[in-house]
Structure formats: C-alpha cells, structure tokens
Assembly symmetry: C2
Homo-oligomer: 433 residues x 2
C-alpha cells in the first residue's frame, strides 16, 4: 500500500467479496482506506461504505466531499442511502441531496421523514409492482426494467389502480408459470402479510419471524404499497435488540463499544454507578441506625454480604425469567395468579434449601446457634421477597411501556440490597436482641 501499487491492489481485491474488503479496511486509517476505495469499482466502493459500522462510517464521511458522498449514494438502495444521510452533518446533507440522482432523491427524502426505529425507517423504496390484469410476460418486462435498481427481491407485489396492495406473486411461481397466464391466476390465495409504516422495528422482526418471511411489504395508512423490508435488515434489528438488552442488564446507559472514546465510555457508565453509590450511602445510613446492636454483636455484620448477594441473585434470576417470557409473546398460557403461585412455590423451595445450607454451615463452622437461626430465617424471607420483586418489577415496567430488562439492571439490584438489609435487621431485632 505504501508504494501505491494500484494495479496490484485492484487485481488482488477484484476476486474478493466486498464484505471481506471492508473487514480488511478496519486495519487501516480512514485516509489509507479512502485511497484504496477510490481506485476500486464504484459499486464495490459503495457496498463497502454501506457495510461499515456506524461509528467508523462517520469517521469516513468526514473526509469525503459532498460530491463524493453523492457518488456513493447513487450506487445504493434508497434505505441504505437514507441511513447514511442520517449520519452526514445537517449542513452537508442538503448539499448531498442536491447532488444525487433525481429518482433516488425523491425516495430518500420520503424515507428521511420516518424515525429509524419504525417500519418506515427500515424499508427500501425499490420494489417491483405489478397489476392484477398483467400477464407473466409483462411482469418479466417490468422486472427487467427495474432489475438495475432492485438487487435482491423475492416476490413481486400486486396493486390495484390506486396502488393499494392486494397480493403477492413469488419469484418461484413466476419462473414456473406459463408466460401468458395473468397475474390474478398465479397470485397467492392467502392474504398477504404486510406491515404499516409506523410499526416498531421490533414488532416487524416478530412478524417476519413468526411467518418465516424473507421480505415484507410496507403499506401506509391508506393501504397503499410504499416500500418493503428485507430479512437482512431485520436480522440487524434483532442483533441490536440483544445488544441493547445486554447493556441494560449491565447498567450501561448508551450504546458504547470498546473502541469508543474514553469520554463516551465514562458517560455511558457513570450514571448507573452513581445510582449504585447513592444506594450504598443509603445502606450505610440505614446500618448506622443499628450501631448499638452491631456493637453488641459484631458478628451480625458478617452476614450482610451473604444476605444481600443472595437477594440480588434471586431477584435477577426471577426478572430474567419474566423477560424471557415477555420476549416470546406467543407464550401466554397461564393466568397471573397461577404464575405468581408458581413463583412463590419455587421461591419457597429455593429458600428452604438455601436457608438449610447456611444453617448447617454456620452451626458446623463458626457461629453460635441463635445467630445461625436468625441468619437462616432472614435469608429465607429475603429469597421470598426478592423473588416477588424480581417477578413483579419487569411485568410492571412492561405494562407501563418501559423495557422490562431494566429489572435485571443495577437500579433494581440497589433496591434489593436495601430491602435485604431491612429484612435482615428486622429479623435480628425480632429474634436476637
């Protein structure tokens, strides 16, 4: 690369898939990468930019002129072009829009209206529309016309005279059908599954998963066909959802990756840590109320970590089981009371078992009988309460429209810590002192 041996670079990369080239480029600086990209085929260049992750792409776009960005966008589908435009600074955006092809501009401007997290923001405008009365041959003519713009498609969509979606013909039936049959004859009989523009991306993903679809048409409020979403975009949605949940569970408040800046790392992590610290200070204040008891029997303090850790673990387990059920929505079998009764039974049995272990270990190893009994009874109660909290919190969060995974995060653990401490000292006061 240092020798700028262009022919060598082009020849080496010619037989390679664009996705492989883009992994390769992560090892270079943006300037070096741009040098390589500029000498490649325009289409490959555009595909590589499309496949970069958002942060890296932003770094790239900074060293591109508006004309160069427009050149890249012209090679892409409308959905990808719109996604990239979202990352271009607002003042450059207008300039780029003025420079791209007129057809693409119309489509992209339309797509920019939608939030990135709804069906409208996921869809591409490129699709193949046919009329009910057409013959198979006319369809193939239409496909030929559109073939340049639409690089992947699995079906053609049938619309009426005002563009309302009425059906779908799979590519397979087009291949197999007689050229003079009409679209109406080979159209699928079942009602075609479609989504509306404002549907949440996660719901689009659920629908495509449920019906095993590789693409789904998008309609507006009037039932008119306005775009289509392909499965590769939905796979990205599912992956991002999993990442988001992982971050919520770990107490990280914005999308952050290892190679993001130090400042961004701190900003994402500090808020939750501060909540934990505030909880810890409240713990300290609360324990201060029992200073007299603690001075009397110091050994009480020894078991605080045990009580709190168990409460935390039980709470997170319970919450995560509820989150799991909520993520599989087909799964509503039992009523609320049956579910709670079962949670209670599991908690009882877990509690009895754990309290037994602790009691045995304490008597055998080090503690006097009365303290052992107190610790075990407190532990049992903590398991019950933490199970209940862990089950009810995500249900409530979900009911009020929040992400239920929050219940496995640090906010709830902090609350559980305080709860455990309260139960423990209450038991101590009742039985020991």
């Amino acid at each position: 690369l240092d020798e700028r041996d262009n022919t060598f670079i082009v020849e080496t990369l010619e037989s390679v898939q664009s996705a492989d080239i883009s992994s390769l480029l992560y090892e270079f600086s943006s300037e070096e990468s741009k040098y390589v990209l500029d000498i490649l085929d325009k289409e490959v260049h555009a595909e590589i930019i499309r496949d970069l992750d958002s942060d890296t792409r932003k770094a790239f776009l900074k060293i591109y002129t508006p004309t160069e960005i427009a050149g890249v966008l012209n090679q892409l589908n409308s959905d990808d072009a719109a996604d990239i435009l979202h990352e271009v600074p607002v003042k450059a955006r207008e300039e780029v829009l003025a420079l791209i092809d007129a057809d693409l501009r119309l489509q992209v401007v339309d797509l920019l209206r939608y939030e990135e997290t709804v069906a409208g923001g996921l869809m591409a405008k490129e699709l193949i529309k046919v009329r009910q009365g057409w013959t198979v041959n006319q369809c193939i003519e239409e496909i030929r016309k559109q073939a340049e713009n639409v690089d992947k498609f699995y079906a053609v969509y049938v619309v009426d005279e005002v563009d309302r979606l009425i059906g779908r013909v799979s590519l397979k039936s087009l291949v197999l059908a007689n050229a003079f049959k009409s679209v109406a004859e080979i159209m699928e009989e079942e009602e075609v599954v479609s989504v509306e523009t404002y549907l949440e991306d996660t719901e689009v993903a659920d629908i495509m998963q449920k019906y095993d679809l590789e693409s789904v048409p998008v309609v507006n409020v009037n039932g008119q066909l306005v775009g289509r979403i392909t499965i590769d975009d939905v796979v990205d949605v599912i992956t991002e959802q999993a990442e988001e949940e992982r971050q919520i569970m770990a107490g990280i408040s914005e999308d952050v990756e290892e190679d993001d800046s130090v400042w961004r790392n701190i900003r994402a992590r500090l808020p939750w840590l501060i909540i934990g610290i505030l909880g810890g200070l409240m713990n300290a204040k609360f324990m201060g109320l029992f200073e007299a008891e603690l001075m009397q029997v110091t050994a009480i303090a020894f078991f605080i970590p045990l009580i709190q850790a168990t409460g935390g673990n039980v709470g997170i387990q319970s919450a995560s089981i509820v989150v799991q059920s909520l993520a599989n929505p087909s799964f509503v079998v039992e009523g609320l009371w049956t579910r709670l009764a079962k949670v209670f039974l599991v908690a009882m049995l877990n509690g009895v078992f754990l309290a037994g272990i602790v009691f045995g270990a304490n008597v055998l190893l080090f503690t006097e009988f009365e303290l052992s009994l107190t610790v075990s009874i407190a532990l049992f109660s903590v398991v019950l309460f933490a199970s209940f909290m862990g089950t009810v919190t995500p249900m409530a969060l979900n009911y009020f429209g929040f992400n239920p995974a929050l219940a496995s995060g640090p906010f709830i653990t902090t609350t559980n810590d305080l709860l455990g401490l309260t139960i423990y000292f209450f038991t101590v006061n009742l039985l020991l002192i």
Copy 2:
C-alpha cells in the same frame, strides 16, 4: 369447539395463516388442539406442529401414534422432520422412520447424524442442483420437478459431475435470462459463499449476516453440495443465542421458561444460588478475622455494601463491554495493550469521580474525616481492580473456549465481592487502625 362443529371450525380457520392458528392453540389443551388439527388440511396440520415451541411439541407428540407422526413428517422439509424426530422418544423413533416416505427417510437419516448446533444439523436436504452445461430451460424443468418438495428457494446451485459445488444462479437471473442461454453464462462470477457441515451454528449466522445472504449452501469435506441453510433458521439461532446469554448473565444454568415445571425452575436456579451462598459464607469467615477492628470502629461495617455493590457494578459493565466487542468479530482495531491502557484510564476517571462523591457525601452527612478518606481510597482501588478483572476474565474465558458472558454472571460477582472486601480491610488496616 365443545359442540364439535367441524364445518364451522374448518371454515373459520381456512383463510387464516398457519402461524396464527398455532398461536391460537396455545390456549387449548393438547387433546383439544389435536381434535382441531385432525380435521384441518394435512399440510396446515404439519406446519402448525413445526411452528410450536419445543416443549409444547413434546407434549403433543406424546398423544400421537407413530403413524400420525409419520403423516405429519411427510408434509415437512427434511430439516424440520429431523428436528421433530429428535424430540420423539428413541424407541418410537425407529417406528416412525419405518413409516415415512422412502425419499424423506434417506434424507432424515442422513441429517440425524449431525449435532443440532452445527451447519449439518441446521440444513435442509431439499435444494435445486443443476449442471454447468444445462440451458435455462432445463433448469426450469428441474425446478418444476422439485417444486413440490422445495417450498422456498432463492437460487439454484451449480455442481460438477461429482456433485462438487461450483456456482450459484439467482432466481432473478433465471427469470430474466433467455431460455436457451447456458447456466455457465448466467452463473455469478464471484466465488459462491458456502459453509462446511461441521461449522458451528453461531458461525453460520455470522457468515450469513456478514454477506447479507438469504440462504447458504452446505458442503461436506470433499466440497460436495449436501444441503442448504435458509435465513429463517439462522434468525432462530440468533434469538436463541441472545436468550442463552441472558440466562448466563442472570445465573440460570439451563434453558428454562416461566411455564416449565417447578422442579425444572429450581434445578436451573439453585446451582448458581449455592455458589453465591458459598461466597457469602467465605465473606463472613473473612470478616470474622477482623472482628477486633470492627468492634473498635463499628462504622467500618456500614460501608461494606457500598464497596461491594460498586465493585460488582463496575465488573459487570466492563465484562459486558468486552462481550460486546467479542460478539462483533470484525472489530479488532486496537492491540491488547492499547485496550488495557484505555480500560485503565476509564477506570481511573470513574474511580476518582465516585470516590469524590462518596468523600463529599460522607464528610457532609455523617462520618468522621479519617473514615471518609479510607472509604474513598478503598472505593477507588476497588473500581480499578474490578475494571481489570471485568475486562480480563471474559477475554480469558473466550480464549479457553468458554462463553465470555459467564464473566457477567454470579460466579464472577461473587469473586468480586470477596476481592472488594479484601481491598477494603487492607485499606482500613493501613490507614485507619
């Protein structure tokens, strides 16, 4: 349903997609559902059984005779049939195999050899194979022959005389090509992406995501085409992976859902709770060593929850950021030392900030100066150590072939609790007493 009004049921369900019927059936008992299924179309019946989740399906299969199971399998693709057979008790399995169609039996027996978590276990045998010398017309003839068996396909695969995969022709190019062109002329120029039978399912998912594929051919060690994997199966793999990670992070040791039996719930949760309990007992034992110090200054105990909770939170955050990076494999930009240096810097800044807050709060609110200072210094050190542990543990787990998400689970939190306590008492000894 109670009135057994068959015509009404059939007519109502006729226009509905099979995926919708299967969600409906979750509300009935297996016997009631079977009654409905038996009066439906055979193909719809089979699709519904296919779409059930594994636990429900096992309950269903118990009330089916081997002949009935065979009838269902005959309607399905080889991969789905093999998956269902995995769930049939071993002694009934042979019986069912003897009853299914001969073609399907050969395919299914072949698929049963593979583990369910590798490409061979995910693939279907149904695909369309053509030869390089064939014309487009011959391909379409072949598709017509196979059309009954293969319900979804996106491309035909080109093989040589010993079945080695040499290329791919998309359905789109088949639709557009002149009927007398040869396959060699319209075959894609780029090398076709394929996977080998023993490749892990998660790696198959990564590859399909990377190249935005809707299906990928599977080859054996000799490069011969043996099957194909479609994106809907991979979407399931990605979803399961996310669920598994959630369970590991929450400390649940086997796949368990809310509606599983009480006993299964307990078995999945108890092992991790016991690890937590053992950690708690070690905490107690360890604090016992400092009984004298605690009797001298009881207030030392007040800050143990604060120290341990912060250590735990920092550790989980760090681990989850590493897990994130490992899940996006294209993402190797910086060397190990640069990464560690950055982790250290973030930890330093977070530590200084948190220690500052705690120091301020302590001085203002309740504690004497020296204890406040000790707590803050210990907190700072705990943040550093927990960041380091949280970063290094998932890397090490990954290196030795374990799931790095284990580092966000209760085992590591328990270790971090002990680490925090050690650092705290070490600081107390050094500065306070």
